[in-house]
């Protein structure tokens, strides 16, 4: 039976057009894009065309796009690159506790090196308060990094307002847009950001390729050193097939955005409404309105996320609990905890992220299967309350007291 894939925030299948675009560059058009002979020049041309496609998707200039090996590298390049270039002028960085680990862990490294990092908490709906940013800014703040869309709860952060503040104060502003690009309109000019991280495999492009948008005249040093590729900002033989695949995916993302948004929002809302009405002791995590079209994140009390995932897997449904990279662990999501969701509720969370291939039948199937799975696991659980599956009886039960 085919997989009903509902984990598009972890990764997406590359589109057939993307794969078709890539294949020639894997074999016949193998020229090194930095070589001056014909097959090298052809690779160069395709790389520059892809750069234009990616730039278009986010309203940037092609010269402002630098290809990286993915979102993680783009995030590291942004943080460490700005620190290398301006870390002598300031010592304070502002970010949030709901960032991806590709931002949080570099920031922790910087703390070890003596930088001050302020980690702001989002509100209980998963939204950052702009006032918190204002309050956190110090005279020596030189970098603000706030994700555009959170990867777990899908909430859209007030980047435009923060951009105005950052610009006014002359602070470099980075946004991790790995989860927003291709899902909602993204325009670097409107958002007022200096740096933006992208990842191709989240927008139906290939894995292993991403980009950092660097606004012209932004003070940033390279992160990786070597040959002269990417105008010396990101050396290494260009991943031509990956880059052209990314370009194609960006072009398609731009073309399909309005239609995809509408269709996927409809399916997602059906999923949210269906689950909330059929499974008691369930909550939707993250603001219902300020969220990307494809995200539905739930907490089911009295069950644990990984068990849910595996039971769904046996029914050929692919979902996620917490972020993709930690879904092997049962630690509840750091994002939900930062939102102030109690441990025992975060513990039983499940993220569905819809995509292009999903149909209404997929959603119907999930709505049929999931209530039974939750019921089955709750029946095994020592912490459920009497009558919790009755639907009406919603008073709190005894919870695990040993923690």
């Amino acid at each position: 039976m085919k997989t009903i894939y509902l984990d598009h925030s972890a990764t997406t299948p590359a589109l057939p057009e993307v794969v078709q675009t890539m294949i020639p560059y894997l074999r016949e058009q193998y020229g090194n894009a930095s070589s001056i002979y014909r097959i090298g020049r052809e690779s160069r041309k395709s790389v520059e065309e892809a750069r234009r496609q990616v730039a278009n998707l986010i309203g940037a200039e092609p010269e402002e796009i630098f290809f990286t090996s993915g979102g993680t590298e783009a995030d590291n390049m942004a943080i460490f690159g700005v620190v290398a270039a301006c870390g002598e002028k300031g010592k304070h960085i502002i970010t949030t506790r709901m960032e991806h680990h590709a931002i949080l862990h570099p920031c922790e490294q910087l703390e070890k090196r003596g930088y001050d990092v302020t980690y702001l908490n989002p509100d209980p709906k998963g939204l950052l308060r702009v006032e918190d940013i204002k309050k956190a800014i110090r005279a020596d703040t030189f970098l603000i990094s706030i994700m555009h869309v959170n990867n777990e709860v899908g909430t859209i952060q007030p980047i435009e307002e923060i951009g105005l503040i950052a610009r006014e104060k002359g602070i470099i502003f980075h946004t991790d847009a790995v989860q927003s690009v291709g899902k909602i309109p993204v325009d670097v000019k409107k958002l007022g950001v200096d740096l933006m991280s992208l990842s191709a495999h989240k927008i139906y492009g290939p894995k292993g390729i991403g980009a950092l948008f660097i606004r012209r005249n932004t003070t940033i040093d390279p992160f990786i050193f070597g040959g002269g590729q990417e105008r010396k900002r990101r050396p290494g033989t260009e991943n031509v097939p990956g880059i052209v695949g990314f370009g194609k995916a960006a072009e398609i993302a731009q073309r399909d955005l309005p239609a995809d948004m509408e269709r996927i929002t409809y399916l997602r809302d059906k999923l949210i409404d269906g689950i909330l009405s059929s499974i008691p002791y369930t909550q939707l995590n993250g603001d219902r309105q300020k969220r990307i079209p494809n995200n539905a994140n739930f907490s089911f009390r009295f069950v644990e996320g990984e068990s849910l995932l595996l039971m769904l897997d046996m029914k050929n449904i692919a979902a996620s609990s917490g972020s993709a990279c930690t879904s092997g662990s049962t630690d509840p999501s750091h994002v939900l905890l930062a939102m102030g969701i109690p441990f025992e509720i975060a513990f039983g969370s499940l993220r569905f992220t819809l995509g292009k291939e999903n149909t209404e039948e997929d959603i119907d199937y999930v709505l049929k299967v999931l209530p039974l799975i939750v019921e089955r696991l709750r029946a095994m659980s020592p912490t459920t309350i009497q009558g919790q599956n009755g639907g009406d009886n919603k008073k709190e039960g005894t919870l695990c007291t040993t923690r």
């Binding site: 009295f302 069950v303 644990e304 990984e306 068990s307 595996l310 046996m314 092997g328 662990s329 049962t330 630690d331 509840p332 441990f343 025992e344 513990f347 029946a379 095994m380 659980s381 020592p382 912490t383 695990c400 007291t401 040993t402 923690r403």
Partner: protein, 124 residues
Amino acid sequence: MYNEIIMDHFQNPRNVGESSRKDGVGQVGSPVCGDTTMIYLDIEESRIQDIKFKTLGCAAAIASSSMLTEMVKGKTLEEAKRVSTQDIVSALGGLPEAKVHCSVLAGDALKAAIEDYEKKQNKE
């Protein structure tokens, strides 16, 4: 990630629920991962006549509990006490390293249940 034995015990856990007499009951929760396991014992002449469990936790935690109940059912309390986490992990055919701590709960809950039983015996 998980082998077939574990997946079998996760999908078809043995001895789920509560035993009829509940001569001994033990509940432990893991501060590391938030899992909770409860063991219910029916004891006759220092022997585990029936054992049931309830677990809130990951597949490793559920499978470990299920495996443990099979391993100690019919054993004397002394024999049951000697079953270690390592025995459970071996019986499951091994666990991913990051998941070994999830299998500790089952043994701890059993020990707590036996203690509960023995405490009650001493009171009588």
